[in-house]
Symmetry: C2
Subunit: 364 residues, 2 copies
């Protein structure tokens, strides 16, 4: 008789390549999922979905309803590539990823930035930026009036207690999870205590950023976070410190726009945006998304770095509860970076997207 | 008979030390002005003025009317130290420097960031951030409502064509002035063409940042700027590029908040906030202000770095039309940094504020 096996979990993943190099890296992400060791007992099915500037040019909308509906009704998670922004204002166009984050209530944008043994300038960096993903200036409520001295435009920055609480709570959870992973291998860890740094500009924005700060303090004062050290930084000073002593930071929680800026800044610390993943996380859904853009300058040359996407695949799996699969992907990526034999040009290497992918697959 | 001399120009300077190390560095700034070579034919008179958190605690206002009136009626320029922010929200307190910028219509915040031969990690950086200083989220129009899910706070981000135009225009003027200075000593210059980089986030904020971007493009398209190369960067990407290739940048023009963040980021590139000056510039007034804060951690130890303030003195003089005096101060500071004999602890040295000041004075 056959040996009894646990039924495999099947995850349905939406693939949204978007524009530019998004179309080169998302297929690499798919290959990773298809090539996971069978011992993980995971199966995947895929559905190709449209979004982006080209979709806008063809159909008049950058985010077709079908894409949103399919994600909501059929999928467990998704991978999103990148979208081009038009170089001058185009009526009716607006970023599909910003809309998607809101429509699926993916309230946390999680952006880990980490050096590996082979990819560091001496200082080991291992931090995560946890960016609020649904409000702040991203509510995009703007208006323009014609004044006596010309046009005056206004935008709303909205900060709610609700969104500030849940983002701070998940930041705390992530800090705890990281601490658990570290205590499993104490030898390689340099950090004793979990830490969350709250970023804001409440010295100027006493109500909005003041609310973010207070609420974050309250969320992180919960009993379950008693082992987490909580501190705060004004956003300008945060950027300064991020560059002066990045090794000091663990989890950084920030309102949407500061999180956007900080994560690009942190990416610069590890050498290339092409290495930095993100996940847009909601209560029961996650979209993996490389932090880089559509990179029109290198599009079509087959040299875009797939690492950010591959790590985003792992991050998505982590938030879908598949931490073991995630750990294996991270380890394969670290192996590729440490060996430094197959690196794309953004990393100073000469490898193609395909060669890097093959090298990671070999290590999986 | 006596030789005929040009009448000395007398400038009256308001001194606003503020809180913390502001009180240690502003006296150093005064000493520099008092010690300028007599060949410059400049005289100074001083008036001490109050502002800051301690002033708020004593008088209930962080920026007394008397300070504003005296600056407006009596002074040609001023030096501002730093102010403490209360660590939790204090009703009625708000930043006096933000208020001062608006009350005196000091619409440009000019923040040069520069390495010297002795103070660089290889890449020579010589850039200026020109930050709009009167609007954006700094209008501080906020409100909070109690919603069904808790509090919701909103702030207005205001961008006007008027303010965007004049800040872009002065950014262009600064680019031209820098080009002139470079052509006077072509041997030491590595840059051929003046450049202005417009920073914005118009891919999300199409109206507000879109207006900034369009207006900046228009201002910089003026005939007088035909020798200036104009480009643009989305703010997150700007932070990334600033760290990856800072040597590429010349003049960066940005709305208020991005300028605030970018200038702290740029400061990290030159090793210490203690080196970075700023000037708050209006049509007929300039306030020199070191970019650092009140630094409660080192207050009272006599080890705060006076360089940011000394350079701010030079910058103030530059915008008051005294470019020659400014150049002499910059040269004395470069001398101090290149010799690296008297450096404060933030620079890895052991010198006191007084020793650094004395060394700069010696070189003046
Ligand atoms: C493309 C843009 C709208 C987006 C953002 O600002 O969120 C990007 O910068 C990111 O970080 O994912
Ligand atoms: C103290 C604070 C209000 C101020 C600002 O945000 O402008 C400071 O950060 C600066 O850069 O001068």
């Amino acid at each position: 008789k056959s040996i009894k096996m646990a039924a495999a979990r099947t995850l349905r993943i939406g693939l949204i390549p978007g524009d530019g190099i998004g179309r080169e890296v998302i297929p690499a992400g798919r290959r990773i999922l298809e090539s996971l060791p069978s011992s993980l007992n995971l199966k995947f099915s895929f559905v190709d979905l449209d979004a982006g500037y080209e979709t806008f040019q063809k159909t008049g909308t950058a985010l077709p309803d079908k894409t949103v509906d399919t994600l909501k009704k059929e999928c467990d998670g998704a991978l999103f590539g990148a979208v081009s922004s038009p170089s001058t204002k185009v009526a009716g166009y607006s970023s599909p990823i910003v809309a998607l984050r809101k429509k699926l209530d993916l309230y946390a944008n999680v952006r880990p930035v980490k050096t590996t043994a082979g990819n560091s300038n001496g200082k080991p960096i291992d931090l995560v930026i946890v960016r609020e993903n649904t409000e702040d200036l991203y509510v995009k409520e703007e208006r323009t009036i014609e004044g006596p001295n010309g046009k005056v435009a206004e935008a709303i920055k909205r900060i709610s207690e609700h969104a500030s609480f849940r983002i701070s709570n998940i930041a705390g959870e992530i800090a705890l999870r990281r601490q658990n992973i570290r205590s499993a291998s104490p030898a390689t860890s340099t950090r004793d205590q979990a830490m969350v740094t709250i970023t804001h500009k409440s010295n100027v924005l006493s109500q909005t950023d003041g609310l973010f700060r207070e609420t974050a303090r309250r969320a992180l004062a919960a009993e379950k976070f008693s082992s987490v050290f909580v501190e705060e930084q004004i956003v300008d000073s945060m950027v300064y410190k991020l560059f002066r002593q990045p090794e000091f930071y663990d989890v950084i929680v920030a309102p949407n726009l500061y999180g956007d800026i900080l994560s690009d800044g942190a990416a610069a610390l590890v050498g290339s945006l092409g290495l930095v993943p993100s996940a847009n996380v909601g209560d029961a859904f996650a979209i993996g998304e490389p932090c880089h853009g559509s990179a029109p300058d290198i599009e079509g040359q087959g040299i875009s770095n797939p690492i950010a996407t591959i790590r985003s695949v792992a991050l998505m799996l982590e938030f879908l509860g598949e931490e073991k699969a995630a750990a294996q992907i991270y380890a394969a990526v670290d192996g590729n970076l440490d060996a430094a034999q197959f690196l794309t040009p953004d990393m100073g290497g000469k490898a193609t997207t395909q060669q890097v992918l093959d090298d990671v697959l070999k290590r999986l």
